[in-house]
Subunit: 336 residues, 2 copies
DNA sequence: TTGTAAGCGTTATCAG
DNA sequence: CTGATAACGCTTACAA
């Protein structure tokens, strides 16, 4: 139970604790044999440097904090794995906090992590609340922060995000090319930065292909399957069905498809459906869902690397990384 | 950037640092006014106790480690949320490590966490490898560990798990009551403790209802949808199809359903399907999937509370908590 | 009720 | 190359 300390090792070998310390941190000069002897003995004694003491004396925690809106869905889980991979390789611990999609909880999480003195933060904000100001204040005070995923392009800070405009454009264009004439976009929350970007991409495709304004619509939904269902129910009730639907994410798409099917409307024969942020479910549902895949793992890795550089002051200017994805057409969005 | 310390506060008020310390830890006697004055001044100065220093002097890290097989699927994510809720309320940080279903990585994760001196561990093991011995050695050496989810009932340690036998029995019995005569169980990995228990529950139902041995089968699959698909493909190839299939989890079930459908086999008309470990997808697929819901959140909370007690020595004997679930019959397993 | 001072286990500076 | 020793910021006997 008792932890062997550097002193125990030093005493055993009749060397100073500094020597032992040096043996374990090869940035100092120390004779090779001494070092090997120390390491060997330490090993035998079951000594392992106490990370807490190291943290205190170096005034670093070697912890970083990651704040995500949720990690129930695979999207942020995969991102986190990417982050962990980078930081664990550098001997850091990654503290994960999830905000349950609530800005208040997000702010609390960030404050808790800052109080626990993490060396840096990766934040994937929920909605655009007033929190950003607070984060930027911390950032300007010298706190390393990297923003991720749901961020504005204009944000003056290091950030990593998906090129939502471009890929929403591609997805919408695909539907147009399939000769669908009436296309509705179930757009997530309009207050979400990513939503705004995807709406812009969607509209750009409509304009480029000269789809008349009365032939497309942007409808606000939430992020959940139930909300996709609700919108479809309303559309059915209002006899206002398009021939193609583009959804904010796969969950909304799956909700929409389920509701359409249960009303005897066939996908894609009667109405085509397109998802976004591809999940593992796409191949398992009927029809298989067309969707846009985001490079989640890379997103995490990139954000982590940016933060790591920031922590070590090797990043002078805020840097922005914009990632691209992959559009895979499956059964749900093609003419037979 | 510079952190305000206890000394700064003490100096400002001309009190000793111990007084300041005491003001922040109300377990010592201190005059009420002094305390309030100190707290107020500290607040003004932006002082916040340095957690690292506290950790070092108390020889505790106030960190606990959680090792899960994966957190891509909602199952462990929800469990983690339950754990976090309990420990954050006690001022602990929760370090999460995922083993990618690999025992070697799991062992490495546990060792890393122990080296980083977490005050206790919650381990959800991947497979039954030799790792258990190592964990029990640490446990016996006084290290607080709680095991979770995929554990043997005979394990002599605190543990929290789902009553797999019972609920696999209920699920299988439901299929029998629906008058399905040939029932196959796609059983996950046989080396998984939960698999063994569910197989036992399945067989118990078969025996109770006197289903002849030639009318049921236990087939090893993995944990993934693809593996469910593969098994169905093989069965189709061998002209060996039952009239009902019970699956290790919803993913396997969804894979099975997808493969059956793509071969023109109707669910549940031709073959009924039953899932397990209910996911949010159950209502979104066609047909809606019958499944057994596990209390993930409670599982996390219970494990966390057990560990917390162990850390604080208020738990003398290893304790076992066995949780129950909920069987929901949907479209995939009923006769019309 | 308050202050003094010795830890906690390292790193890092400065001599030697 | 190695050893003493002062930090790091807090808790906690012990004394007053």
């Amino acid at each position: 139970m008792k932890h062997v300390t550097i002193k125990d090792v030093a005493k055993r070998l009749n060397v100073s604790i500094s020597s032992v310390s040096r043996a374990f941190n090869d940035k100092y000069d120390i004779k090779k044999e001494t070092k090997e002897l120390i390491l060997k003995t330490a090993e035998e004694m079951g000594y392992f440097p106490n990370p807490i003491a190291k943290k205190l004396s170096q005034n670093k925690t070697f912890n970083i904090g990651v704040v995500v809106p949720e990690f129930i869905n695979e999207y942020y889980s995969e991102i986190i794995i990417g982050i962990q991979e980078v930081f664990m390789a550098h001997g850091y611990q990654v503290l994960i906090a999830q905000s349950d999609e609530k800005p208040e909880i997000e702010l609390k999480n960030v404050k808790t992590l800052i109080h626990s003195m993490v060396d840096g933060l990766i934040i994937a904000p929920t909605m655009d609340s007033g929190n950003m100001e607070y984060y930027l204040k911390e950032l300007n005070a010298g706190y390393p922060i990297v923003f991720m995923s749901r961020v504005k392009e204009t944000l003056e800070a290091s950030k990593v995000y998906f090129n939502n405009k471009k890929w929403a454009f591609f997805a919408a264009e695909h539907l147009i090319r399939q000769r669908y004439k009436n296309i509705y976009y179930l757009a997530g929350y309009k207050s979400l930065n990513v939503s705004i970007d995807r709406i812009e991409g969607f509209k750009r495709a409509m304009n480029k292909h000269k789809i008349p304004k009365e032939n497309y619509k942007v409808i606000e939904t939430g992020l959940l399957a139930e909300e996709g269902m609700q919108v479809i129910e309303d559309l059915i009730y209002n006899h206002d069905l398009p021939d193609a639907i583009f959804c904010f994410n796969d969950r909304v798409a799956m909700g929409a498809i389920a509701k359409l099917k249960s009303n005897g409307i066939k996908v894609p024969e009667d109405i085509a459906v397109m998802g976004f942020t591809e999940t593992r479910m796409v191949d398992l549902i009927t029809p298989k869902l067309s969707s846009v895949k985001q490079p989640t793992f890379d997103m995490g890795k990139n954000a982590a690397e940016l933060l790591f550089k920031q922590i070590n002051n090797s990043l002078m200017e805020p840097q922005t990384i914009v990632l691209n994805g992959e559009l895979t057409i499956r059964e749900s969005s093609v003419r037979n």
